[in-house]
Symmetry: C2
Subunit: 375 residues, 2 copies
């Protein structure tokens, strides 16, 4: 078992290439983490997730604590074994899902009480509880339990929320059981305010985490505002620790994030869109349900090496989506994850070669072209 | 391209081992054909279907003619290319689904008019039309268009229905475009009546098809009655042609069918059950949704080499089914198809070794044990 560590390998502008060492294997950054909400990256076998190039996935504490339950997962050997993913797993803290999914929330200084979205059962989550649950799940990277500040928020509300999260971060760090190769990340909050983000970074770095996440973004503020916040938040973080932008994003969000010094990302976009007939390609988003694809013998993206593009026509994918076939979700999810990983690989190689600006410009040129013309 | 042909390799009692040669590759019999209704074996990549050992799959003319349409499939290179299954494909004639799925049916001497279950559109299907559609789909094996006699049926009704199917069989044969390596099967009808089944066999063999199917079974008559009909129908068929029992069945139906001289089977049971949380194992049917599996770290079947059994616990599969995860359908379908193919391989090896009776006895002993005891 190796020590948890991060090594910065190259920097190009603010874009960074690095390498994370963990108890469950290495992670090259910048990295995109597919979301495996309930112990499965939806519609994918874990070996297929691996085949796309993914090295680390995300699990949702909120979902797993409710079903099948953290103690049960622990008794079955932990999440890695349970879901057959031996590689690194980052678990979120549950805080964000409590806010977005659960009913009847009641927040106090100690934690939050809510009703399960599955059966309405009353559940309590605290910084200590969330940390222990992530330990039971055997998370390679544990996230601090925070309050995701709503958007928009006044300076006063953002400050109050952020300071609560900072007090919780300290309690999470105390509750964290340190083990070789495992790490815990603090989460920067502070809304869209530079002073508050700065204060949050100071509070977290004083606690000293193995990595730092930027939370409270991608919650409706839009890309320009998100980039503006990143512009002052990312550089404030310590250079020798990984930086994780939570819940982001679309392909151009990833490029803009890396450009601003982010190392890690997660988002449901590639998997959720895959189940909804939407494909991300070099030339933008393709809605394969659109009747223009009905007779199109061409692949989704002729330059893509994923099974969906290698073996099937747009017409076939269109048919699968229309017929509500499970294979539609399987193939489009695979394609989307493959494309995301391909994009991350491309960015990493560009950073290592000192050519990130060229890569980003070429990416944006290609994206701006839009999809291939109908036949 | 090779000629379509069947060679009987061994016989043990009435059980037969043989080999079908087709334009799309060989098929060793006895064989189970997974059902790929709408151009996909549900929840499976074709390479995974192949990995279970399947050599030939079934496509449904009724579904494919309605969506995406036979002309469209033809324009896209045929069903093999469309769905990325280069191996042999048998298509049914659409007759059975017209009876079971379509609305507002009207049958006359020439054919049948019905309302599509997708959009209610009025559609006409005749022996010539069905044969042409299967040709457009590029079916390796084309089935004659027949009327599946309802069960129960009086001798008079069964006779009338069977004789209509025999007149249609002749029209199908005339309409069939003969090509190297492609074949057409006639379908024996006649309900549960020995004299009518005999008359049907005579009518079909006089026409001379590349193979013969036994239709009108597995429609509610129950296994003993089905076996009784097979007992007099299968031996009446020419020994040098493949025999296909349509829409059958559960594992013990397959063993009983092979025992009675059947070479080919198809059924939605393994795929449909897989999507409903049901697994077929050597020790019977396992309903993985049952709470007894919730904490069970053991595989579905420790002797099975499929991914579901190799990499996952019953507890995990239970969790996936409860959480309605697509991966549940993927893994359980894979397991069921693997088990079915394993069973067919076992029967074939036993026939070739002259030990089919022992195999069938061992199969029944194991099945009678029932599932492993709860922990």
């Amino acid at each position: 078992m190796s020590a948890f560590g991060f090594r910065l390998e190259a920097q190009d502008g603010r874009a960074r290439a690095g390498r994370l060492e963990t108890a469950h294997g290495p992670v090259e950054t910048p990295v995109f983490m597919p979301v495996g909400t309930a112990g499965t990256v939806k519609a994918m076998l874990p070996e297929s997730v691996k085949a796309t190039g993914a090295s680390i996935i995300l699990g949702n504490t909120y979902h797993l604590m409710l079903r099948p339950g953290a103690e049960r997962v622990a008794a079955l050997g932990g999440l890695h074994r349970f879901m057959n993913w031996p590689g690194p797993i980052l678990t979120d803290s549950g805080g964000f899902q409590v806010m977005s999914l659960a009913g009847l929330r009641k927040l106090d200084e100690d934690g939050v009480t809510f009703a399960s979205h599955i059966d309405g059962a009353k559940v309590r989550l605290t910084p200590e509880g969330s940390t222990e649950i992530q330990d039971l799940l055997d998370a390679t990277i544990t996230m601090a339990f925070d309050e995701c500040t709503e958007y928009p928020a006044s300076h006063e509300a953002a400050a109050r929320s952020m300071r609560l999260s900072m007090r919780w971060a300290e309690r999470c760090r105390t509750a964290f059981r340190r083990r070789e190769g495992y790490g815990q990340f603090g989460i920067v909050q502070g809304g869209t305010f530079e002073d508050l983000r700065g204060e949050s970074v100071e509070a977290l770095t004083a606690i000293d985490f193995e990595g730092y996440a930027i939370g409270g973004l991608a919650v409706g503020e839009g890309q320009p505002e998100m980039f503006r916040v990143l512009d002052f938040t990312a550089p404030a973080l310590p250079a020798d620790r990984p930086r994780y932008l939570m819940g982001v994003g679309k392909p151009d969000d990833l490029v803009g994030g890396v450009e601003r010094g982010v190392d890690m990302f997660d988002c449901v976009a590639p998997t959720r869109s895959g189940r909804n007939g939407q494909a991300f390609t070099r030339r933008g988003t393709v809605n394969i349900r659109n009747s223009r694809h009905r007779d199109d013998p061409r692949p989704l993206d002729e330059a893509c090496g994923c099974p969906a593009c290698r073996d099937y026509s747009r017409a076939y994918l269109h048919h699968l989506v229309k017929a509500k076939e499970i294979l539609a979700a399987m193939l489009l999810t695979w394609h989307n994850l493959h494309y995301y990983q391909e994009l991350m690989r491309g960015m990493r190689a560009a950073i290592l070669a000192g050519a990130f600006a060229d890569f980003a410009a070429a990416f944006r040129r290609e994206l701006a072209q839009g999809d291939i013309a109908p036949l």
